[in-house]
């Protein structure tokens, strides 16, 4: 911080030779903490983002994801710890000396310039030859399917076109890491899905590392190679969308990612076949026991709405089903959401496919609900 000059120099050399000495991590976060006054935004966070990865930081607002992204981009400085980009410490390097580019939440397109000048801005700052700039801008606009829009003013563009300009303006610089700060948040659903496709296509064809900040778990699932789920300045779990969704490690992750029933209980039996029983206020769940589980240990279990099946025999094995009364039935199109109260008095919600069988049930009816032990996650914290 106090003497940024040598750091700037190192960061610049990063931009020219990104592949050297860096192994396969594009960004390395080492014990990073950041606080604003009394508020801790990030608390001793460490992880790596691999080269060429589409990596999402997922969490509710205020979890520290944007702060982390801004620190990678050089807009904030960590109070403690290091951030390495392409293997080189970035401490003190300002944004203009980093090999990162950002797509901002509200895009931050320059309102007084047309599309061409917006996209060309980064190359002009690098003092490239006018002919080269012209050619590259043309390519970039082609890449985001905006050829022919160069002379348009920014306020003459639709929401989706602005998104594309923002992408072209960042990607034309061929950043070693592209930072995306919830850029799709303001779009309506249809357009958002389109832009998700567009971003994935760009990521596949370009191969740059993308770091995507979002609070939308569906968006993170659909786009990412790996996801880091964050809450209150901590990283709770990092993994592929499948890992995060199917094997949430904490109650927060289970709740935040998808619709989940979570119950507190304790381990009542551990079987030799690696399964265990968790008793939760009368209702028992059979699950795959994680390593190191002990009898009577207090744990929580998570069971996703869609992993509860309507029908089947709850008595076939201990902890694989129950009998319950339907308290509310919601029509969701392709499926029904059944809110039920089990005979033990526990509230259990299930999403069941819109089948003939499901249609027959009404509120007040008694139903059998079953589930697979593999679908019940044991949450240790």
């Amino acid at each position: 911080m106090t003497n940024p000059v040598p750091h700037i120099a190192t960061a610049r050399s990063v931009a020219s030779a990104p592949a050297q000495a860096a192994g396969d991590s594009a960004v390395e976060i080492r014990n990073v903490s950041k606080w604003f006054g009394d508020v801790t935004a990030l608390d001793n966070v460490s992880f790596e983002i691999r080269r060429g990865e589409f990596f999402s930081l997922l969490g509710p607002s205020g979890c520290g994801k944007t702060t982390l992204l801004r620190m990678i981009g050089g807009f904030e400085t960590p109070n403690e710890g290091q951030i390495l980009i392409d293997g080189v410490d970035t401490l003190g390097a300002p944004p203009y000396a980093r090999s990162t580019n950002m797509i901002f939440q509200h895009l931050a397109l320059f309102p007084h310039m047309n599309v061409l000048d917006n996209v060309a801005f980064g190359l002009k700052m690098k003092r490239l030859d006018d002919e080269v700039i012209k050619q590259k801008v043309h390519q970039a606009l082609e890449l985001v399917r905006l050829d022919g829009y160069g002379e348009r003013k920014i306020d003459q563009l639709s929401g989706g076109q602005k998104q594309r300009v923002a992408m072209a303006r960042a990607l034309i610089n061929d950043p070693s890491v592209l930072l995306l700060d919830e850029p799709l948040g303001a779009l309506d659903l249809q357009l958002r899905l389109q832009m998700q496709d567009e971003l994935r296509r760009l990521h596949k064809s370009l191969g740059n590392t993308f770091i995507f900040v979002t609070h939308d778990q569906g968006e993170a699932m659909a786009m990412s190679d790996r996801i880091a789920v964050m809450d209150q300045g901590h990283i709770l779990q990092i993994g592929t969308p499948e890992d995060i969704y199917e094997a949430p490690r904490t109650r927060f992750v289970a709740d935040f990612v998808g619709h989940t029933n979570v119950f507190d209980g304790h381990v009542s039996r551990i079987d030799d076949n690696g399964e265990c029983l968790v008793a939760c206020s009368g209702l028992t769940f059979r699950c795959i026991a994680p390593a190191g589980l002990t009898l009577e240990q207090p744990v929580s279990v998570a069971l996703r709405f869609e992993d509860v099946t309507l029908g089947g025999d709850p008595g076939s094995a201990d902890g694989t089903g129950c009998s319950a009364t339907v308290t509310e039935k919601m029509y969701l199109g392709g499926m029904f959401r059944l809110e039920t109260r089990t005979d033990e008095g526990v509230a259990l919600t299930s999403d069941v496919t819109n089948s003939d069988a499901a249609r027959l049930f009404a509120e007040g009816d008694t139903v059998n609900l079953t589930w697979q032990p593999a679908n019940v996650s044991v949450l240790l914290e």
């Binding site: 981009g73 203009y96 580019n101 901002f104 939440q105 509200h106 960042a170 610089n173």
Partner: protein, 293 residues
């Protein structure tokens, strides 16, 4: 929701039957309001209109009755070397004072975007000259220049006095433009490789330019009209208001109304153009805000 819509329909039906009934607030006082507004504008613009009429009055005495239409007083004004000299002085000092004050206000406003200790106190200190009575301001400047040994003249004391007078207003017009400026634009420029100076010249300044032009024009108007402070420090040089004052005191010259109209026209013109740029500045800010949301 449903009941409200139904209620609105009912009201619509009723008013369709009896179109004359209106229930807007104060509608019974409409005539009174018109009279009040008429009196208000007569009071505001009556004297102004009178001076315009007088400037075309073919009479050696400033006053009514109207003796016939003439433009000869304007010829007198434009043929008087003293008046033209004063006009030139006022325009020159006005332009220079506006340029200096606007530049200072711009850098001040840039600085005030940062957080620092005692910011609000320093902010209020900039605005104090506005509330100091003009005559006090003039005396204070006179004493100050006397002590510092600066001889009164147009390009020294008058210019400094005008910058001193105009600066708080320039700051007040410019500060909101920069205060409301979207920092993400500057961050985006920095992210794309722009150094601080390039961010200012390529992003910040072009976007706030209408506001800067407006500020300069308002500053010019203020300087052009300044009288009280100027008369204390002007020495042998005269600006238009000082010259004007001299004419009133020495003799009630018949060309006075014509001169007054000339001053009014220049002031109004520069202010109107200033308001135009102000409107443009706020419009572009509005477009940008809409786009961002």
């Amino acid at each position: 929701m449903v009941s409200i819509t139904a209620g609105q329909e009912n009201i619509a039906k009723r008013s369709a039957r009896k179109p004359a009934r209106s229930h807007r607030p104060y509608s019974g006082y409409r005539t009174a309001l018109w009279i009040y507004a008429g009196a208000f504008y007569t009071f505001l613009y009556g004297p102004l209109l009178m001076i315009v009429l007088l400037s075309f009055n073919n009479s050696e005495i400033v006053g009514f009755p109207f003796q016939g239409f003439t433009t000869r007083w304007y010829d007198v004004v434009f043929a008087s070397p003293a008046l033209l000299k004063a006009l030139g002085n006022s325009v020159g000092v006005g332009i220079l004072a506006a340029a200096i004050a606007t530049t200072l206000a711009l850098s001040l406003a840039m600085g005030f975007r940062h957080q620092f200790r005692g910011k609000s106190i320093v902010l209020y200190l900039i605005l104090v000259p506005i509330i100091i009575p003009g005559i006090i301001g003039g005396i204070v400047l006179l004493i100050f220049f006397g002590f510092s040994g600066v001889r009164s003249s147009l390009w020294t004391t008058v210019l400094v006095a005008h910058v001193n007078w105009v600066l708080p207003f320039a700051f007040l017009t410019l500060f909101p433009r920069l205060h409301g400026f979207d920092r993400a634009l500057e961050e985006a420029a920095m992210d794309l490789g722009a150094r601080p100076w390039e961010i200012f010249t390529r992003i910040v300044f072009p976007i706030i330019r209408p506001g800067v032009i407006a500020t300069a024009l308002f500053s010019f108007s203020l300087s052009f009209d300044e009288f009280i402070r100027t008369i204390f420090v002007s020495g042998f040089d005269r600006t238009i208001p000082v010259q004007f004052w001299g004419l009133i005191v020495d003799e009630l010259a018949p060309e006075l109304p014509a001169m007054a109209v000339l001053i009014i026209v220049i002031s109004i013109f520069s202010s109107l153009v200033g308001f135009y740029f102000m409107w443009r500045a706020s419009r572009s800010a509005a477009t940008y805000a809409r786009k961002a949301s």
